[in-house]
Symmetry: D2
């Protein structure tokens, strides 16, 4: 009822350009109608499973048949292609590795938009270029559907435990509808603004993370060279103005913390290639908005150079090892 | 008594090279004998006043007579030069602006070491090159005195409220003696290792701080350009892996936080020149230890370039303004 | 005749996918048929005038009517829009400020491709993203036309004196045809490879130029601070391994050379904004090809930061002034 | 006679502080009295041999006896230590690997200054910190001797062929005397100014060289990734504003040029460690003079990081290999 009311309010406030919002808001939010899920990789599978756990029927697909099995066993219905999913569900979540995949899944020959129904809510949790998110939103709007970007912070572990953070961009009127589903999969769901804002927030966070990690690695290395004990130095930084997430929660120096990639030869975690990819988006966004990002650019280049020196698949905190003379 | 025992233990453990430690440890720690204080600037004056508050007689000096007045009114005795202070006190704290001042105050013609008594405890809270701290320690040891470096984290406010953090380097046996005095002036007193370690820890902290601040400024600026609300972006970063002290406690974007320099046109706080100076120490230390510090170097260069563009005396968080197109 | 023969050879060698090349090569290269010219700015006008001087009738257009006058007086025929030019000429040169202008002029509603004739040779001398050049080539090929990119090195002076360097990308068989026209406007015409290669070469050159200029400015400034005479230092660099075009031909220090922007308060020359734009293309290309360009990135950021500090419209060699403490 | 006259002129002009210059200038410049040479390494041995070729008796020493043999066979007299050389020769050249060696050879227990004669001309061709050169000059002046710094540009090949460039700092009145000897060993002898200026010029040149080489490597790599032929790209750069010594005379891409380290798996040439060392001097000088050198700093860090990744002993142009994904 609240949703209906909201729909009417929008009707009056925003004139007939958005008249279809009334319809959109008629999507049932109370009963658990099927939810589409496209992209059943390391992240997508546990995310979709958390929807099932909350009682939502899931209709899914993926280009790789071997990705189906696990979710099928958990009770999901598997279809052939995104278009068929769109034919059966009016709420669809996508979780894909890169911009071209997103473009294909939405606008390709058997893509979502081929059969999408008016009023369908499309939530893309992939991390992609914000410009692509905006293009998808325009394409969806032409079909009467609503596209929101909702990239995540947190890895496979957080996905399994439903502890992801979702950064959501799109029309504010639809945020509640998105939140209903996203809270099944994450601990935090933050509304960031218009379409693309979720990606923007994700990019910003990861740029500062990427800078902070290299800064922490340099600082720890310098301190060790100057004779300081690494654990003591980490303690001092963390009680002072040098503190950051990388020094505090994910220290890159082996022996300082347990349960982080540096304690496990930099395996697992967030690969250097992925960090380089995200900083590439930051770089693109900065170039196109004429924004100077000197440290962000240099961090991007350092992760890029690491990829040339054998660190591509190690956790990005291996920059500590990359910078140590004795390291390699 | 414990102190005496500690002295004997050292005697046996470390052989006669450190036999004078027995004497050193005979310095009374119970009764409040006078404490020397040299360097009565913005930081030194409130620090010395806190010693007075704790009941220690203070014997002080400074090269600028106008610096005396305030502390004299608070009850300190003012002498002509460091040598005279050393003649009257067997515990001396120095708080000076730069390496040459420290060299002059310790080894100059009317410096401390001209009249220092055997067993005197010398604590230098200046932020200087760790190499100079080590030289001073050697010179002090020749006269039978003990030198410790104890630079501070925290500004004038923290000095007044006795909330400084001291990072202490020097012989471990003397740490308790130093701690007795330093706890009157600070909230945290951390033992970092041999002489110079305090400076090393300070340099490391400030390098990571300097990097984190520019990283935060770039990130906030990029986010704003991409359409994000600054307060919202700060909130997202601070709940995610981008979090750092600069984003969380000292945000450089006007309007995001109260009570920080960015809320006051970047006045007060920690001047860009001072940050550039500290990063110069980091650079020197990295060069001499062959340690790569790519982001630290670039941060140094950015603060240095800011000094050429009119930001020398603004708080270092004004890097946000420096990087904004509309800023200047 | 050679051209015809070349056409046949291609016909056999490359199969019917390129059968239209036979037609293309039938464009008369001996008689001086009209040449289209679109974009009559500071560069385009003198370029088009040089075509007139060589006896080519010129049919031109520009969005700004005030740009017409000068060329019209020199004997060019002015038409309303690019489509009309394409209707009248089978060789067209475009010289436009940015990628969106190029896209509009070629593919817009009254763009060249609306009325382009089969076999028309399209030469774009704008400096744009190589990816856009490739898109234009694909679009032109669909209409049976041939697109080549031919960005220039050299400024307004070189354009007037027909001393430009053209870096040409496109099918090799058409290079002679392009060269016939380009030699009227430039001293060097270099074939670089497939479409987009001209832009790639231009971007590479300007990236190294941008790095060399900042490097020269830093080096000269450091030497001056160390007590060296600037003219003497320039002389030493130029006879040693530090030599580069910026130290040798375009020294950024006032008083070292005559006839360069540093001798004229950094007026004229190549604006900082334009250098920042070109380095943005370098950055984009590097990001998309996963190429590390640490100095190129930092140079980009420095020119970008200069734009925030009042140097946007000065010659890019003003980076010397930006880096000097006394400079501002 | 001219020398004598010059001596008198100085006597009157510069007052009795420099009265000893009269004596200095009495050193015979016509007859070939013995020249001391200390430091018989890869550079020193061919340099000293060139003095012998020009008819100067050479009195030499080195800490490593195995270094003696070659020069002894060429006719040089070998003595035990620098002090003994100073006892026998009133013109001495030193060519040593680093600042501590220079300090030892001049001021150590059996150093030059122990037995130096009044008026002796001391020429140090080592590449060291300019601050150390100045200290040595002060120490020499106390003994009545004259110290000049004269570091070289050019490697072992240039040393053998007497094609070195000498950059000379020191009192101008003594430049002719230094030049007499240096022209036997080099093709260019450039007077740079007061003591330390030779080092300053060397540092400046090598900083710009170090920047230019990385810039060239990045640019060539980017161009290759964008599809350009490396030889063609080098040709384009070298005829355009991107030209620099590294692109033109010492191209870092295998296959572009013959006779350079890139044609020989980066063996020989100028080691990455040595470039990192020289950029360390640049960094120190910049830090102490508060000069921003953003690209110089980053170049320093990149060569430093290369040392951590197995490139320490390769020619510094191997930065091209370091930056290529397929490279390692």
């Amino acid at each position: 009822m609240a949703a209906l009311f909201r729909g009417y309010r929008n009707f009056y406030k925003r004139s007939n350009r958005h008249v279809e919002l009334t319809l959109v808001s008629c999507r049932s939010m109370a009963s658990k109608t099927p939810v589409g899920f496209i992209g059943l990789g390391n992240m997508g599978t546990p995310m979709a499973r958390n929807l099932l756990k909350h009682g939502y029927p899931v209709i899914a697909t993926d280009v790789f048949p071997e990705s189906f099995k696990e979710l099928q066993d958990s009770g999901a219905q598997i279809l052939d292609c995104p278009a068929e999913v769109a034919d059966k569900a009016d709420r669809i979540i996508t979780m894909l590795p890169s911009s071209p995949n997103v473009i294909e899944v939405y606008t390709g020959p058997s893509g979502i938009l081929k059969k999408v129904k008016k009023g369908t809510l499309l939530i893309d949790s992939s991390t992609i270029n914000p410009a692509v998110s905006k293009e998808m939103a325009v394409a969806a709007e032409k079909m009467g559907a609503v596209f929101m970007d909702a990239p995540v912070s947190g890895g496979v572990g957080a996905a399994s435990l439903a502890k992801l953070t979702f950064m959501v961009g799109g029309v504010e009127e639809e945020f509640n509808a998105a939140q209903e589903l996203l809270t099944c999969m994450g601990a935090n769901v933050v509304y960031c603004g218009q379409v693309g804002s979720g990606q923007a927030a994700k990019i910003c966070n990861n740029m500062l993370l990427g800078i902070g990690m290299i800064g922490t690695a340099e600082t720890m290395n310098l301190g060790i060279r100057l004779g300081l004990d690494p654990k003591l130095l980490a303690k001092i930084l963390n009680m002072s103005s040098g503190q950051c997430w990388s020094s505090d929660k994910y220290n890159p120096v082996p022996g300082v913390m347990e349960g982080v990639p540096s304690a496990n030869n930099y395996q697992g975690g967030f690969g250097t290639t992925l960090m380089a990819k995200d900083l590439g988006f930051a770089q693109d966004s900065a170039t196109s908005t004429l924004t100077p990002i000197p440290l962000g650019s240099l961090a991007h280049q350092i992760y890029r150079a690491m990829c040339t020196c054998g660190y591509a698949n190690k956790d990005f905190s291996s920059v500590f090892q990359f910078l140590r003379e004795e390291g390699v």
